[in-house]
Symmetry: C2
Subunit: 245 residues, 2 copies
């Protein structure tokens, strides 16, 4: 399983993913699910992946190849050269659709699932920070004023705190805290979501990541939030009046 | 969808269910999912149901028919006459297996699902309070010292608070509070789980329900817990230190 969450705030973008993958409960591995592309001062993009790993790796490889070919002078549109974030989401969606077309039928014949979803966030010079949720058909939706975050993978355990806290106006420190609490709740309740975590922060208008960091099990910032949240939850529960029936 | 939770405490049994059913998102109805049988002072049993409504109604009808036939003097084993709670769980499981045998194939041919799960709790004179989770094959498991609760239906949103609070030693008032908070979290996050609620409380050794109550939207006890929990959660989140990266 997987848990990735992307927040689209007025203050910028926050992207947080776990790194655990499993093929059955007895075959657990660690794979990064966060990929970034950056031309500091011009654009920065972050992609997070959930679902069939061979499919999502194929998508990322195709996107990287296009960047390399564009870099080498070929006339190829890539995440680093396309004109808008909307166009970037189309390129990612097209790469997904190509993978699905190539493998879906064979996968399903073997009883495997080809399903995959992606979250793409980023900003380019002249544009605003944008966040997209890309489906396996290659179609996508964009975060709006009404819905300021997207989740992929095991979304249920981590959703309530985001529902209560995250709006476009949420300041960055509070949003980071909410993302960590959301991840902590998911880690506790679903064994197939696991540390370490990958975190990327893209403040609005800066066009470069201010944070791009892997957080290991003993990361002091994450530990601080996780411990304090557990204690606060217990205190919160105690403070609710008892039922008299 | 559905959410039902059953707690097996040293202090007795708590059973709480919602009442919303849906056949698609545009066809939402209200059906009770909690059924009780009681011979005060001798035994009391409570069954909660999730899954295909025609299947679970068929199970309850079969169980009630057996009770009526036993009552009329026929030599039929029923929930009100069987010798142990374990035997009661077998009778419920047999009723489930019979429904599945009768309808499953036709249901699946039409693309519908026959899946259903049940929670059975109760105590008879000379026995202890017992709680069972009954699957669609008619097999079942029993709550133990290690696992003091069962959930059926939409279990994810309401599980974290139970994991943190419920053990066999949890006193009844705190357990009721945890059950309400668990239900409140689920109601907030999944529209297909809805008020009113059905609540049954069976204190250990009393062999009669001390509470068997329908709680409507404006129920003061539930409102009190729901409001206080929301406020306490916000306070808990505020008290977690902010992230500095």
């Amino acid at each position: 399983m997987t848990y990735c969450v992307g927040l689209r705030l007025n203050a910028g973008l926050v992207m947080l993913s776990d790194t655990r993958t499993n093929a059955g409960l007895d075959n657990i591995s660690r794979f990064g699910k966060m990929f970034t592309w950056e031309r500091p001062g011009e654009r920065a993009l972050c992609l997070m992946t959930a679902g069939n790993l061979s499919i999502t790796q194929g998508v990322v490889t195709a996107l990287n190849e296009a960047c390399a070919r564009a870099e080498a002078g070929e006339d190829v549109e890539s995440l680093l050269t396309c004109s808008t974030m909307f166009r970037a989401a189309q390129l990612v969606g097209d790469a997904m659709a190509a993978q699905q077309k190539r493998y879906r039928e064979q996968l399903e014949e073997t009883g495997a699932r080809a399903g995959a979803t992606l979250i793409l966030g980023g900003q380019r010079k002249g544009g605003r920070p944008r966040l997209f949720l890309i489906y396996e058909a290659g179609n996508f939706i964009e975060a709006t004023e009404d819905t300021a975050f997207f989740q992929i993978g095991e979304h249920k355990y981590g959703k309530p705190i985001l529902d209560r806290v995250i709006t476009p106006e949420t300041p960055m420190p509070q949003a980071l805290k909410a993302a960590f609490v959301s991840m902590d709740s998911t880690l506790r309740s679903n064994l197939s979501v696991g540390m370490p975590l990958d975190l990327a922060v893209l403040p609005a208008g800066e066009l470069r990541f201010s944070v791009r960091r892997r957080m290991e099990q003993d990361d002091p910032e994450f530990q601080k939030v996780s411990g304090a949240w557990s204690d606060s939850l217990k205190a919160a529960f105690s403070s609710v009046p008892e039922i008299v029936l």
